[in-house]
Symmetry: C2
Subunit: 369 residues, 2 copies
């Protein structure tokens, strides 16, 4: 069985590494010749809208998936006329536009922060009436890792923020004074089988994920069930196949959906060692219609991203129960170069190891627990 | 860092899959173009004694290791003049000759079954005086998976057995009425650091490993310590670097060394999911002089080989906590095509899952627990 991956980043690389033991073969497509997947699998270097290259890419593949949510939806649709593209391209379209994403959440009965679309100065007035301040202005498309966002403390700042984001279609969102942020990863198989991982608590540094702890230390059964209901509704609504990640703000006992990613997700990297089945294997099982694997945890886990530069590998490997994952990327400020997983027998032991790793790893803004 | 692997079988493939997350690159050498490593890494197809190919293989590598103990020792020695070959070639030489292996064990104070060398009919008489019957006649070289062995129930059968093995240099060994067989995997780093995994109990089918359970259900602390002392002595004696596997017969409270393998070992495959650090990652850490990883178990584990033909993958994946590892090899009777790992929270749960998998998997001779 040969699987094509749109995008050749670390997510694609880890999909391939999870799939080889299952007897699968992989081919990636990425415009960058140095894409991390290329070190461990066949990589076709081409633009996502090069139709000739897409034909070549599709030849001999059984399935196509994607690891990068800014793959043009039209690329996924074009390939879907030739072979199964999973998750379904509709999920890609919804996730690529913050307005459509919000509307999808609402149609599934999932609470979201108050918001209003802004595509011209005429929208300022109605938006100011709908959305309380402070607020955040976000571009509707191509936002990631804190890019395409501006804080707007009061209505008067709105025109300037919109200018700075390039006068593109945006969404004004209330700034939710959340207690903390969590994410839930759900999987739905082609057979309709569904499975969820435990809620994960995420910490960011300058908008980039820095730390995930699983299970989320402060989340209870009620939150887990609330999150599972929301993600289940999305999975069914989209006839989704694969891993779907949804980020939520926790406000008291309520979850507000922030955004979704129709792919394996950085906040699920801990599953490689920390869960009985990794998100990468689960994604492949789902696509192939194979039985989903157990999502039970192996003790307690955490994931810490290695951003911008790498500490000496020996300093990480010397810590027991720390597992190193490097992506083979050239260092560059803020870039995700790798991650470490921590696995422990208790939440206290995990958090102690987290503090130890945080003392070695450098972040744009320090992260503490 | 680029590591060369002599041999492109499943052991090499699993070494590469363990090494990619550590940022390593791999190149294999194997005479067979369809070698399993070739699906996941660069593979040079050439004979082990092709000096020109060896030069090409060595170019740009930082280290060479091997995954196949019948690689000619002279190949390892030739490469060792160019770059570090680890484990040291001396280990390969010792392991390739059952007589030298036995003498090494004895020089390290490790008990072995009684034995006598036989290289001509003149040796029959002295051997019969030294070795009690029933006995086993084994070729000194190129034995594996039960090949190159003949049972000799009484002295009169010895000449015929020797004929049948091709009149090559052999060892006559007493047949030890052992209670069961175990193996111990030890790792020694270039820095001298040593670590051991728990003893594993092994069951065979027609001389091929079928099942390993970890920790060995019937082994106690005394046996573990006895095995660790023996393997530590070998590691030091050989200035060994990497994973060394030693198989022992258990007779009451005594261990008799059967044989050693200077490489990662089939009876250690369970470590991928069942131990905090897999034998494959440990082997690489040792070679690179990196700190060794924790060898602590994650609960209880078992490994079952998939021999000759594969059951439908769905039937295995449907069992919770069963992990599938396929090697991408063409089915052939008795051939190792893959394995599954079982991970459980108790020995009872593990054994129940073992029985379930054994009911799905076919063996030349049935294996039961």
């Amino acid at each position: 069985m040969r699987i094509g991956i749109l995008g050749g980043g670390q997510l694609g690389r880890m999909l391939a590494l999870a799939g080889y033991p299952l007897g699968l073969h992989f081919r990636g497509l990425d415009p960058a010749p140095e894409a991390p997947l290329g070190h461990v699998a066949e990589l076709l270097v081409a633009s996502y809208d090069d139709r000739l290259a897409l034909e070549q890419f599709a030849t001999g593949l059984d399935y196509v998936t994607y690891e990068f949510e800014n793959v043009p939806g039209t690329t996924a649709e074009f390939l879907a006329t030739r072979l199964p593209v999973l998750p379904p391209p509709v999920a890609l379209f919804r996730a690529q536009d913050r307005l459509e994403e919000k509307q999808l959440f609402e149609s599934c009965g999932i609470p979201v922060p108050r918001y209003a679309p802004i595509s011209s100065p005429e929208d300022f007035g109605p938006a100011i009436e709908t959305v309380p301040f402070p607020a955040v202005l976000k571009t509707r498309r191509f936002g990631y890792d804190g890019h395409g966002q501006k804080r707007v403390r009061q209505p008067a700042e709105l025109p300037r923020a919109w200018e700075e984001l390039g006068r593109v279609s945006c969404l004004l969102e209330e700034f939710v004074p959340f207690d903390y942020e969590v994410s839930l990863l759900g999987a739905r198989s082609r057979t309709g089988e569904i499975a969820f991982y435990p809620l994960v608590e995420n910490r960011h540094t300058e908008g980039i994920l820095a730390l995930s702890r699983a299970p989320a230390p402060r989340a209870n059964r009620t939150l887990q069930e609330q999150a599972e209901r929301s993600v289940a509704a999305l999975l069914e609504e989209l006839s989704y196949v694969g891993i779907l990640a949804v980020e939520f703000f926790v406000v008291g006992e309520t979850l507000l959906a922030n955004e979704m990613a129709p792919r394996v997700h950085n906040s699920g990297h801990w599953t490689i060692e920390g869960a009985e089945t990794s998100q990468f294997e689960q994604h492949l099982r789902a696509i192939l219609g194979w039985p989903l694997g157990s999502t039970a945890m192996r003790g307690y886990a955490a994931m810490i991203n290695l951003l911008g530069s790498l500490p000496p590998i020996e300093s990480l490997l010397a810590i027991p129960n720390v597992h190193v994952h490097l992506y083979g990327k050239t260092p560059r400020p803020r870039r995700k170069l790798g991650h470490v997983t921590i696995r422990a027998e208790s939440p206290e032991e995990r958090d102690e190891l987290v503090r130890l790793v945080l003392s070695i790893v450098e972040f744009p803004q320090p992260v503490t627990i």
